[in-house]
Symmetry: D2
Subunit: 99 residues, 4 copies
């Protein structure tokens, strides 16, 4: 099962600047070979369900290992069985209605 996800990992209790933790999660996605796109409030990810979920777990493990005792994550998960759709397809579909 393929999934399009949106991941926002928030380490708590480590101050107000959390970009180095987010950067670590970006590295996890690269290592997992997952197509992803960083935006200002999370990261779009596309891939096989199990691969994406394993990466999300690794993100939590790494961010804890960096010293964050508590993490709260928002994850959106989109699946469809009618047709294939990529991250770019979703954006193109909206943009085509704006022209």
């Amino acid at each position: 099962m393929k999934v399009i996800a949106d991941l926002c990992v928030i380490p708590m209790g480590v101050g107000v600047s959390v970009s180095r933790y987010v950067a670590e999660c970006e590295k996890v996605l690269v290592e997992a070979g997952l197509t992803h796109h960083l935006h200002a409030y999370g990261t779009n990810i596309e891939g096989d369900w199990d691969t994406v979920m394993a990466a999300v777990k690794t993100c939590h493990e790494r961010v804890h290992a960096m010293g964050a005792d508590r993490i709260t994550t928002s994850l959106k998960l989109g699946t469809r069985i009618d047709r294939e759709q990529s991250l770019q397809d979703k954006i193109d579909s909206v943009r085509s209605k704006l022209d």
Copy 2:
């Protein structure tokens, strides 16, 4: 790794009444033996990370099998390594500050 999660599964393209799909997800959580609490905008779940994530995947598979071609899910994931905390602990902690 233990996780406290909040799951909101939204089947798309099956009309505006989706409670039978949500009920199916409740059954998945019962079958998985997971502690859970249904509220008006999702379900709190507490358990081992892998068990919770396997249940979330099963929810998508079941809801697709019921005829929903597209699903969008919101999932919150809370982990902490400083101490154990249950669903009830979180609620009690807030309530104790209200008295």
Copy 3:
């Protein structure tokens, strides 16, 4: 326009224990006269759109005033124009499918 909302306010940079900030938000909802229900990963709220949104803004203002320099909030907003539905209706609707 009536809305059913789910609010999860996360103060950042104030340590891992945030229940006193969540408790303050509960007080805001009480003061606003809004029907609400605290769960382990947020608070369900039901009411007029503008009243709910004014309360959410007040939550941010109060939590900042308590000393949290940064806040990240997850808010779900459900509206429907086909019929009235309360927080309890949503739960009852799922439960009726479980019997």
Copy 4:
């Protein structure tokens, strides 16, 4: 109070293709003069709290007017009082840690 938001409006009961509703919301943001960035699972928005919230309400009104009887929206809201931060600042901050 300035806010950085992430908006994902999901019309329910109108089929599995919802891009024309999302496109309408993009138009609302343009009309409101708000800086925004469409991604594959929502739209980042930056602006004054009240202006952003008025636009979110208009999105619900417009999508209902287009024929969607039910809408469920996920909205993230980030505020901070320690310093100014733009959408691009957030992305640059993460990218600088990746080099």
